[in-house]
Amino acid sequence: MTLRVRWGTVAIAAVPLTALVLFFVYPVVGMLARGLWPDGSLDLGAVTEVLGRPRTHRVLWFTVWSAGVATLVSVLAGLPVAFVLHRLRFPGRDLLRALVVVPFVLPTVVVGVAFRQLIAPSGPLGSLGLDGTATAIVAALVFFNISVVVRTVGAFWEAIDTRREEAAAVLGASPWQVFRTVTLPALVPGIVSAASVVFLFCATSFGVVLTMGGLRYSNVETEIYLLTTQELDLTGAAALSILQLVVITALLVLAARVRRSPGPVDRTTKRLPRPRLRQLPVLLWAGLVIVFLMAPLASLLSASLRQGDTWGLDNYRALGTTGAHNALLVPATTGLANSLQIAMVATVIALVLGSCVAFLVSRPGGGRPMGVLDGVFMLPLGVSAVTVGFGFLITLDKPPLDLRESALLIPIAQAMVALPLVVRTLAPVLRSVDDRQRQAAASLGAGPLRVLLTVDVPVAWRALIAAAGFAFAVSLGEFGATSFLARDDNPTLPVVIYRLIGHPGAENFGMAMAASVVLAATTAVVMFAVQRLRVASVGAF
């Protein structure tokens, strides 16, 4: 029995690991090898030369501090929102929870333009003089990543037994003291987890730094992009990629020491309170953050409803066309259909692989190897999309792995991006299943598969659907990896938007805005449905 279970574990691990090696490790190594072994021999001198350049130091410093500040601000801004959206009860809360996630899944190209329209000198916030400054970069990074903090920390916050905080209050702790001495220590693992992911996203962000910084600032990611796509300096790019990998791995190792998943949430006994007047400072703070998150979305919406000086739905009607002067190869609506289809396939792949990983890392007694496994699947988030994308082209080019022409290439790339999110959604829920329940089922005659179906699945199916929804939304908005891969005549909606925005003409711009709103609305609806599902099922069990 033991032997069979072991073999089972190995086999289950083999599936996602094979995918990771094929679709991440192999391409990245292939790309690095091109840079480090330019003429068939290892050229470390060139690497040291690149790392010694003053520009490299500047770029590294900017990467670290912009990501660090953005992470700090995201946490500070996200905490009150997590509190308000996960610990209070008020009408419209579920809708807000869904809306807060929208920025995270929107393509940077859309948000970049929306954000810049706000802060450009001619925009409503132009007087702040933020355009093209490092502050604007940090603000945009924060905009993208707040929802990571809200959702991660919110989950921890929901899991805290309110009576523990009440116990402190009755012992004489003021609300602030309760937060500092009881709530915060319980949130720390969640905050560390969220912060490490946010830092990862910020340190590897590319579109935001280019769009918001107007070329005055470079981080490691944009530098790799420039060196690879424009200067073809593969040695320089490889050196920076390795630097990036080392930093990210160190960060993940550090975070793994502090991180732990939130405890099981006892949803049946929870009766969340309504907001109270004395919480006004926190409510105002959260309100401001939410306004900050919604402003660029509102700016998108208003731009989509405007055509010249008139208002109307013309931009939306135009989505059935290929745009002014044939800006598109196919109508925007076809792009939406493609996106939905690709996202569906990507979701299935991410779910299959993610379930395997989550299943393994959530087994009790897995210990260190499982912790490493969890971290390994986070790596794709921390490595340059340019390196991965170009790596795909130069490594997946020979049978039986000639995937460059395959319709599965983009779904696979998107699935690798969504995979960590699936694992992080599923694993804590599976971990919350008391192992004695599995033992009880086994002692009653259930085989491993039956145990899985009768003990784990009934607990995890909701999380599974939630993970599917999240993965779907992420795939819908994914642009980075997609844009580096071959785009055929079946573009996704973000690619359609990118094309529209890249063509002159008010109609095309309006169409791009309308398509962006459709994309944002679709993701919001998906997230909202996911949310409703979880809430509606509370009473049913």
Partner: protein, 348 residues
């Protein structure tokens, strides 16, 4: 018992791999032709249908990023080419493609005589075939200047004058191909003094954005975002797009003394599965039907000067009579140096 779950998981993955395998088979058929292009590719279906009717070949288009990214991807995948042929390498990247040896020479049979001037020189003459060209020019928002009762600028020197302080926005040379074209225009115009000129531009509060989109759609007064800068780097073909609904004249115009001419080429890739098909396609691209369709689809001028341009192009999108140009091999040789110097001048 667990083994019952495993086959399901494994077979899913195998199925996925198998499907992937199927996908790649279709490329082998000689009846299809894969062409790598830049992102701006657009061509009406009827034109491609005509090619299919003439040759029986179906063209599959694979956009691969801007001209630079396209060229670099092809160089990187030299051993196992992404496509049979390429369209969209321009004169700023042409010699990198030639030097990397990714192309097979082909002398297009029916190249129009007006295209001769755009051909590469020396040994590289037949590696790439010129298909179209476009002028990257400074555009101005005439209605903005009219409203303010100001005279719009005319030349590169004007852009550095105090009268136009804070009015000019241009995409960056390192991240945008029109941005690079504009840099090359200034290098051609100013020679060794180009860095001083850029210092003047920066002192005159010129704004640099990452891409054309940011410059035109956010900062330009006549773009989608109703920005606050009435002077922008764009194309000589941009003005017709600013003809307001119901009007007949554009509200913007291109400054024809500030233009850099970008020529776009097509070529046969070494290691192609279907070199004969690509050669046919190149012949087709320099032919009447394709050339005529270029302005409407890709906003570029056909190399065949006998082709009739759309009516509003004739009136509002004239090409520059004397564009700036830099020898493609000089571009390849100096690109990295120029870009690094440009980066130093433009960033604080």
């Amino acid at each position: 018992m667990r083994s019952r779950l495993l086959p399901t998981v494994l077979s899913t993955l195998l199925l996925a791999t198998a499907l992937a395998g199927c996908g790649s088979d279709s490329k082998e058929s000689p009846k299809t032709l894969v062409v790598a292009t830049h992102d701006s590719w657009a061509m009406s279906k009827s034109v491609l249908a005509k090619f299919k009717a003439e040759t029986g070949i179906t063209v599959k288009v694979r956009p691969q990023g801007d001209a630079g990214e396209l060229t670099n991807k092809l160089v990187l995948t030299k051993d196992s080419p992404l496509a049979d042929g390429v369209y969209g390498i321009d004169n700023t990247f042409a010699s990198r493609a030639v030097d990397a040896g990714i192309l097979t020479a082909y002398d297009a049979k029916e190249l129009p005589s007006s295209a001769e001037q755009y051909r590469l020189t020396g040994d590289a003459k037949d590696d790439l075939t010129p298909i179209d060209y476009g002028d990257v020019c400074v555009n101005v928002d005439d209605s903005w200047f009219a409203k303010k009762n100001l005279t719009p600028p005319k030349t590169l020197d004007d852009l550095a004058k105090p009268a136009y302080k804070g009015l000019f926005v241009t995409p960056g040379a390192t991240t945008s191909s029109p941005g690079l074209a504009f840099l090359l225009a200034t290098i051609a115009a100013k020679g060794d003094g180009w860095q001083d000129y850029w210092k003047q531009l920066m002192a005159n509060d010129t704004k640099i954005t990452a891409g054309w989109t940011d410059a035109y759609e956010v900062d330009f007064t006549a773009g989608g975002g109703n920005g606050d800068r009435p002077i922008v780097t764009s194309y000589s073909s941009s003005p017709p797009f600013t003809i307001p609904k119901g009007a007949t004249e554009p509200t913007t115009s291109a400054l024809l003394d500030t233009c850099f001419r970008q020529v776009e080429y097509a070529g046969v890739l070494k290691g192609s599965d279907n070199p004969a098909g690509m050669k046919k396609f190149i012949d087709f691209m320099v032919g009447q039907d394709f050339q005529e369709a270029l302005p409407d689809n890709m906003y570029v001028y056909p190399v065949d000067s006998t082709v009739k341009l759309p009516a509003d192009w004739a009136s509002y999108a004239p090409v520059s009579p004397h564009p700036y140009s830099v020898d493609p091999s000089a571009v390849t040789k100096n690109r990295t140096t120029w870009l690094r110097e440009w980066r130093d001048v433009t960033s604080q």
